[in-house]
Amino acid sequence: MKVWQCVVCGFIYDEKVGLPEEGIKPGTAWADIPENWACPDCGVAKADFEMIEV
């Protein structure tokens, strides 16, 4: 399970937690999130996230 961070606003996507409020189940791998998904906080693209070490 990995953690990804929006490079623009710092929003964190944790694969373990998912984003249930957006219909993304806990345990959803980053690769399985649709390419047209956008950061819920600032709206930038999935491509603007980077993997971070935690």
């Binding site: 490079v7 623009v8 606003c9 710092g10 906080d41 709206g43 930038v44």
Partner: protein
């Protein structure tokens, strides 16, 4: 080979570098920063206080790491004094630097209006991480803040500090919050929820004097009333930084004039971000910067690419009453229509042919941002039957 030189280490400058490195690992690049060159998220400056984040905590990637990750040279604490377009060369505080191509990503300065009073100089603005650090320091032990400007940044700061327990006054000559972005029924939605967390609104007036008081300052408003504050912040807008481009003879209107390829009137010089006027529009928001950076990176990598902007909603970070807006041009033909209301409001701007060309979502409707964005360009009726009641 002379490097591509990027002037500015904000979101625009670093995003171009990030995107360029996805396409070309080798072309030499030098980035010039007036400050430390650390990468931080500017949008977080106006919502970091209530989260207890100091300036250091906002740095996402220190400059040394950026340099390594991107394989670029970064010069810090450097000022560019002039551009010699004929020789493709910059005059700087660290000597002359030659470029193959130049990217201007210098940002914008806060607009300041002259005021009377012995403490007029005490008025602050927060436009970068150093300003934020100074502000946090100045706020120690204080509890009253006055914000000039009830626009996006003013409202975000007001929400942030009110949440942190400060008594916040907002003074704006306009009629309601966010007036430059949305119609009155939407902007007014912010009034009660922010008042409930401690924001004291003053619309239809402005600050004419700031004077020292026994503790803090006395603000005298144009309508004659007075209020007290320990900190005074000006958040009335941004002005693109154009002086350098102008002195070099580049075409400048409100911002540095560039075409859809982000190219200025000099074919070797590009501009993006808050300093740029792209095909006549200055768009000092995150999404336009990301799109422009991606297109410019392609052009710099050798594939001449025009930026195509999709519908780019702006998110106003006011957790007490969240807002997402796709603004329309001031002179756009059409009108606003309310689609739903409740704890917040949902409005769409319908153009002359009844297609959705803008929207505002506040409160409970703010979460519908991505769904609403998909409906842009569609006729109202066709885009959602649920709205026809």
């Amino acid at each position: 080979m002379e490097p591509i030189i990027v002037v500015g280490s904000g979101l625009a400058g670093y995003s171009v570098m990030r995107e360029l490195r996805k396409l070309d690992r080798n072309v030499p690049v030098m980035l010039l920063s007036r400050d430390s060159g650390d990468y931080y998220s500017k949008p977080m400056l106006s919502n970091a206080f209530a989260q207890g984040k100091d300036a250091a905590a906002l740095v996402q990637t220190p400059v040394a790491e950026m340099t390594g990750q991107l394989g670029i040279t970064v010069r810090t604490h450097i000022e560019v004094q002039g551009i010699d377009v004929a020789r493709k060369c910059l005059a700087t505080t660290q000597g002359e630097l030659s470029y193959s191509r130049l990217v201007l990503a210098m940002g914008a300065d806060p607009i300041r209006i002259p005021m009377q009073g012995d403490a007029a100089d005490a008025v602050r603005s927060v436009n970068d991480i150093a300003d934020y650090a100074h502000l946090r320091e100045a706020m120690q032990g204080t509890k009253r803040i006055a914000i000039m400007g009830g626009g996006l940044i003013g409202c975000e700061f007001a929400n942030d500090w009110a949440t942190a327990g400060f008594a916040v006054s907002v003074i704006d000559p306009g009629p309601y919050p966010l007036a430059s972005l949305m119609p009155q029924p939407a902007g007014s939605q912010l009034l009660p929820p922010l008042a409930a967390i401690g924001v004291d609104w003053h619309f239809g007036t402005s600050v004419s004097r700031v004077d020292s008081a026994a503790t803090g300052y006395t603000l005298t408003l144009a309508d004659g009333s007075q209020l007290q504050a320990d900190i005074v912040l000006s958040a009335i807008g941004l002005r693109p930084r154009v002086a350098l481009a102008q002195a070099a003879g580049l075409a400048v209107t409100r911002g540095i004039k560039v075409d859809a390829h982000l190219r200025s009137s000099d074919p070797a010089i590009f501009a993006l971000g808050d300093c740029a006027e792209i095909e006549g529009r200055v768009q000092p928001f995150v999404l336009p910067i990301m799109h422009a950076a991606r297109a410019l990176a392609k052009t710099l990598a050798g594939e001449d690419t025009a930026v195509v902007f999709p519908a780019m909603p702006v998110v106003v970070k006011t957790p007490a009453h969240p807002v997402a807006v796709l603004p329309v041009a001031r002179d756009a033909a059409g009108g606003w229509q309310t689609l739903a209301s409740g704890n917040g409001i949902k409005m769409a701007f319908l153009d002359a042919s009844d297609r959705i060309s803008g929207f505002v979502l506040t409160g409970e409707f703010a979460a519908e941002r991505s769904e609403m964005t998909k409906r842009v360009g569609m006729p109202l009726a066709a885009s959602s039957k649920a709205d026809i009641t």
